[in-house]
């Protein structure tokens, strides 16, 4: 039984078959189309989460009282498995690109919000005080102290966000889509096409790896001051 499980290509396919399929899909343009779709969904979601999450995180740190009221709600939304939102998002935003972008966005948003908030809570008060003694304007302090301070926290969020935005996009695709790697995996699995499933997984791994390399580059560029 186990032996059969290990050999039968139905269950795990074979590297040679996967390579062949990758090649033929590349030639058809099918592979690129699906990969590109997932890439666009995940990166738009990630970018949107960054754009919305960072200011909210800053606001959470600045308006402490408002945050004290809002935080329980934020935390329960954060704890809600975002996967469960996918059907709703498909009803609201359709089966095309936008619903997957929103899935990726909602999965990553809280990471930025909570990380930036946490980063600002650990901010060096003396630095702020020193700038206050020199009567620095709020804009100057934001530019010179606050934003550089949260850069490492933003990079940490991106590091987690790369994987999570792919999760969001792919979960959306699994539930209803007409393109994307999640859709391709789902379609292949429906036909018991294990090779197709693995091709999808390989491409997701490639996307995640490229994302991680880019984040590592950013980190090397911007976090050098951390001794």
């Amino acid at each position: 039984m186990l032996g059969q499980f290990a050999v039968d290509p139905i269950w795990i396919s074979r590297p040679s078959l996967i390579a062949e399929r990758l090649w033929s899909l590349t030639l058809e343009g099918e592979l690129w189309r699906n990969t590109q779709r997932t890439l666009v969904e995940a990166s738009l979601g990630l970018a949107l989460a960054f754009t919305v999450g960072v200011p909210i995180g800053i606001a959470m740190a600045r308006y402490k009282y408002a945050n004290a009221v809002a935080e329980p709600f934020i935390m329960s939304l954060y704890s809600l498995p975002r996967v469960a939102l996918a059907p709703l998002f498909i009803i609201w935003f359709g089966i095309d690109l936008f619903s997957k972008v929103m899935m990726a966005f909602s999965t990553v948003l809280f990471i930025f919000m909570l990380n930036v908030h946490e980063g600002l809570k650990t901010m060096d008060r003396d630095l702020i005080d020193l700038f206050r003694t020199m009567r620095a304007s709020r804009a100057y302090m934001t530019r010179k102290v606050l934003l550089p301070w949260i850069v490492p926290w933003i990079i940490a969020s991106l590091r987690i966000g790369v994987g999570l935005s792919l999760v969001g996009a792919v979960v959306g695709e699994l539930l209803g889509a007409s393109a994307g790697l999640g859709w391709y995996i789902e379609k292949s699995a429906g036909r018991l096409d294990t090779t197709g499933v693995f091709v999808g997984l390989v491409m997701l791994t490639v996307l995640a790896t490229i994302g991680n390399i880019l984040v590592a580059r950013l980190e090397a560029r911007f976090s050098g001051w951390r001794p």
Partner: protein, 274 residues
């Protein structure tokens, strides 16, 4: 040679009586909230005037509220009672620039030595065309040449303090609040920095409030040394240091009046057993 001179003569315009003091603390008390909620008094009923151009040192046991006094003067902290005035105005409405050098080095960790000094010049509203030149001259002056592109963690402790001093000087304050600025330096560098500070002070005649643990340093540099008692800090002793300037530390150290004064300050400090 160090001869005692008339303090009137030493201060020139400073102590001529009718002048508004540059810094004036009146019956100042400061409390902090403690762990169990009850307020702890850390400074009690301190009154202290600093004349324009006067160099005053504050010494006192650790935790007696020296840093706290400077924080009140820079407007960072509200006193529980009493007033803190700069040029007769409440500190929060002071027209003069008040420069503060913190006890801890507070450089921007992601910014180079040069960029850290630049901050002071920018906040002093120095016209942009002069800023680069100003920063460059400070780098040279503070013997930081060759290290201007280094980040703070790539500098030695003494260099970091010099960068912080550079930022303070770039800000061109009318009042210098310095909280153990040379505390982390070896004694040679410390006395060199002291000499530099005196040189700047002689040139510009700013009011300086200088916190230190080093009594000899205090006596060497200042016109006046104020001793605070253990917490809650009160003024325990206020001595005029009327040795003639310029002072040569090597000569001064052997002067019997210097030794006596250091001794007097030592005995005024009630050192707590640890």
């Amino acid at each position: 040679m160090t001869k005692p001179v008339n303090p009137q003569k030493l201060d020139g315009h400073a102590s001529s009586g009718h002048d508004v003091p540059k810094i004036s603390l009146r019956n100042l008390s400061v409390t902090y909230p403690s762990g169990d909620g009850t307020p702890v008094k850390v400074v009690q009923d301190v009154s202290l005037d600093v004349s324009p151009g006067q160099f005053v040192s504050i010494v006192g046991p650790s935790g007696c509220g020296k840093s706290t006094l400077l924080r009140v003067l820079s407007g960072l902290l509200e006193p529980a009672s009493g007033t803190a005035l700069v040029d007769g105005n409440p500190v929060t409405h002071a027209k003069d620039r008040v420069g503060f050098m913190f006890q801890r080095d507070t450089l921007l960790p992601w910014a180079s030595a040069e960029e850290n000094i630049l901050v002071g010049a920018e906040l002093a509203r120095i016209p942009p065309q002069y800023i680069a030149e100003r920063v460059k001259s400070l780098i040279g002056f503070l013997r930081l040449a060759g290290f201007e592109k280094n980040l703070p963690h790539q500098l030695s402790g003494g260099m970091r303090q010099r960068v912080a001093l550079g930022r303070l000087l770039a800000y061109e304050p009318e009042i210098f609040l310095m909280d153990e600025p040379f505390g982390a330096l070896d004694s040679q560098t410390k006395s060199a920095m002291g000499r530099e500070l005196l040189r700047i002070w002689t040139e510009h005649r700013r009011s300086v409030l200088f916190v230190t643990h080093d009594i000899e340093e205090a006596v060497t540099l200042s016109d006046r040394v104020v001793v605070l008692s253990a917490r809650p800090g009160r003024v325990k002793l206020d001595v005029n240091v009327d040795f003639e300037r310029p002072r040569d530390p090597k000569v001064l150290r052997k002067d019997i009046r210097f030794i006596e004064m250091v001794d007097r300050i030592w005995s005024a400090l009630d050192l707590q057993p640890i």
